[in-house]
Amino acid sequence: MARRNHPQAPAGQCGPALADPATRLHVVTGKGGTGKSTVSAALALALAADGRRTLLVEVEGRQSIAQLFELEPLPYQELPIARLDCGGTVLALAIDAEAALLEYLDLFYRLGVAGRALRKVGAIDFATTIAPGVRDVLLTGKVKEAVTRAVDGRWVYDAVVLDAPPTGRIGRFLNVTAETARLAKIGPIKSQSEGVAALLRSPRTAVHLVTRLEEMPVQEGTDAMAELKRLGLPAGAIIVNNAWPPVLTEARISNAEIRRGLAAAGLPSDRKTVTGLAREGREHQTRLAVESRLRAELRTADRPVVELPSLPHSGTRTGLEVLATCLRAALHRPEAS
């Protein structure tokens, strides 16, 4: 029995593990505002435990890794951003589509100087922003390269965590082949995207969904899960972020009772304070009711569900560590009996 759960970790200590240990690419999506970048970072930390080496990748040009780890903006380069006490390392890479294209051209066509000429005529702009799909092929192609990179027969990274585009775009982003194969019937772009598609559809990949227990993120999240299924992409876990503490679930809120308690604690028990507390309690119960309905809805997706607590220090390094501890427990948790 793993006993690593953080004291704040709510229910969910048992059940299917967050991911199969063989998973090497963890793709993290979720509606905007659900905290998918934070969860991605925490997952990269969790996977780096026990002396492992993980790579955290961002592709949206937002520099959110730098912000989360309180660093200067990251260049297009794999750099260590965290070393764990247990010997693990997290490296980070902010992929820039333009740089990835130039790198790609250089690698396959030795286009060093000519690359700049391409930029001059607007071809780079075209390829990375206008041409459909090319950008996503480049971004996912770079991810695949990192996942499959090996030195002396050993993987360079034990796991790669991709902070992917939000739910609204995730299907399109990951389903690069369909679009590009239709446009590029032959040629390197086609083989490149086929290679990526094979990795994304293999058991080495899991696409995790981050959500909050609010209607929109859950609706968009379950829609995205269905879309991934349709596209043959391997759905991973559902990670519920920021759940409210499950207190007052059944309580009948009585003003007299509150007054008695406040007096016993030596706190002001005037009418305004009593009704104020009662109102906070009732609004909380309303939220809990919504949350439990949505929790049930998520359960129908038949995926492992992991709940992360709402933190007083969200957005800080300490907050990341707490989330990493919760996720680590979920990676190793026992099956419910």
Binding site: L111, A123, P165, A265, T273, R279, V290
Partner: protein, 397 residues
């Protein structure tokens, strides 16, 4: 711990009603990062403009939640404004002095908008040719910037129809919040680039593709394009570009016109954010970018602000009392309520610190806040509540 907010200069209050009621305000653009409640806020503002200020309003939504769309009477994506029937003047409105407004709502259909642009600029035969091109199909349906172009295009159309007192626009959940501002510029840069002309230059000779232009960069260019993309793709692409050629000029001109409208006095940008680190960071970035582009920033709308109704008790006192009451075993209800209260106060203080962070980076930007609603919004009543919950932020509670 909360910072000492009373010491800092109180922020300017964002008076949304003054903006909504000002006949000079013709366009309100709601922007901000994804998941901060932009669509709901846009709909709530539009409803309030119609009901409280008697304006003939249209709200252009991009990707509304199903139930919110239904509440506005939008059951399908049909790209035309539909009148919302159930609007009613606010209680106490003098109907003689203020004739009732109207609310119309529409959902952007980017493919259809693109098709309309094509049809408007070319003859039916050529249009059919464009529609059949795989590049056009991919670009109009899935290209990551199309939504932004088309939102701008639709805004331009609505504005030039000149039949609305007020247009409220929700912006696409972009990769970066700025994509819709950059879209027209990027398009122009693309069109002005040599790339297009180069792609238009190839002619067929003896069944082989030859490029008429002979220059060093071009030789490399054509070789690279052919090698990377493949000849088939190049044929489609060149067909696409050739067919669109006639249309591009008009397209760019319209995008640039809309861009200028956004800089005009009749437009107000409202940055929508939730009081959380990511959203605030985006909001700061956006505010700076609007200033750089000479776009008129009205202020910051903070959504999902925690409300504390038992103000008298501090977080520290509540936490301490919660612990001692729980130990006593006879005061579970009050103990749990005080624990919850402590979390709420801490959350509110964190949010105030976030607001301070925004104001430190963007001094002088007016702020208003909207209290967090315990349930999601999916009817007009809920939208009214949001409009009414909009209060100017004064720095204290």
């Amino acid at each position: 711990m909360s910072a000492d907010h009373s010491a800092s200069r109180p922020p300017l209050r964002l008076e949304t009603d003054a903006i909504l009621g000002d006949p000079q305000t013709k366009i309100i653009v709601c922007c901000g990062s994804g998941g901060v409640g932009k669509t709901t806020t846009a709909a709530a503002l539009a409803l309030r403009a119609a009901e409280l200020h008697g304006r003939r309003t249209v709200v252009l939504t991009i990707d509304p939640a199903r139930r919110l769309a239904q509440s506005l009477g939008l059951t399908e994506l049909d790209n035309t404004p539909r009148q919302v029937k159930e609007i009613e003047p606010a209680p106490g409105t003098d109907r003689a002095a203020l004739p009732p407004g109207e609310l119309h709502a529409m959902m952007l259909d980017m493919k259809r908008t693109f098709d309309e642009v094509v049809l408007a600029h070319t003859d039916p035969r050529k249009a059919a040719e464009i529609f059949a091109n795989p590049f056009y199909q991919a670009m109009s349906a899935t290209f990551s910037g199309t939504q932004e172009y088309m939102a701008m295009e639709k805004l331009g159309q609505l504005r030039s129809a000149d039949e609305w007192d007020l247009i409220v626009v929700d912006t696409p959940p972009s990769r970066s919040a700025l994509d819709f501002l950059d879209a027209p510029v990027r398009l122009a840069r693309f069109l002005d680039g040599k790339m297009l002309r180069l792609l238009l230059a190839p002619t067929r000779a003896g069944g082989h593709r030859v490029f008429s232009l002979v220059s060093a960069s071009f030789g490399i260019f054509s070789k690279a394009v052919t090698r990377v993309l493949g000849a088939q793709l190049l044929t489609d692409l060149s067909g696409f570009v050739g067919a669109l050629d006639s249309l591009f000029g008009g397209f760019r001109e319209r995008a640039e016109r809309t861009y200028r409208v956004l800089q005009a006095r009749e437009t107000v940008f409202l940055v929508v954010a939730a009081p959380e680190p990511d959203a605030i960071r985006e909001a700061v970035y956006f505010a700076g970018r609007l200033a750089q582009d000479d776009m008129p920033l009205g202020g910051l709308l903070l959504n999902r602000v925690a409300t504390v109704t038992a103000d008298e008790i501090s977080a520290v006192d509540a936490r301490k009392a919660a612990e001692s009451l729980t130990a006593l075993d006879d005061f579970t209800l009050t103990g749990e309520l005080l624990g919850l209260h402590a979390s709420l106060v801490e959350q509110r203080d964190r949010q105030l610190a976030m607001t301070e962070r925004f104001l430190a980076a963007c001094p002088g930007v007016p702020v208003a806040r909207i209290a967090a609603q315990p349930t999601d919004i999916h009817d007009l009543e809920g939208l009214r509540a949001i409009g009414a919950a909009l209060v100017p932020h004064t720095g204290s509670r």
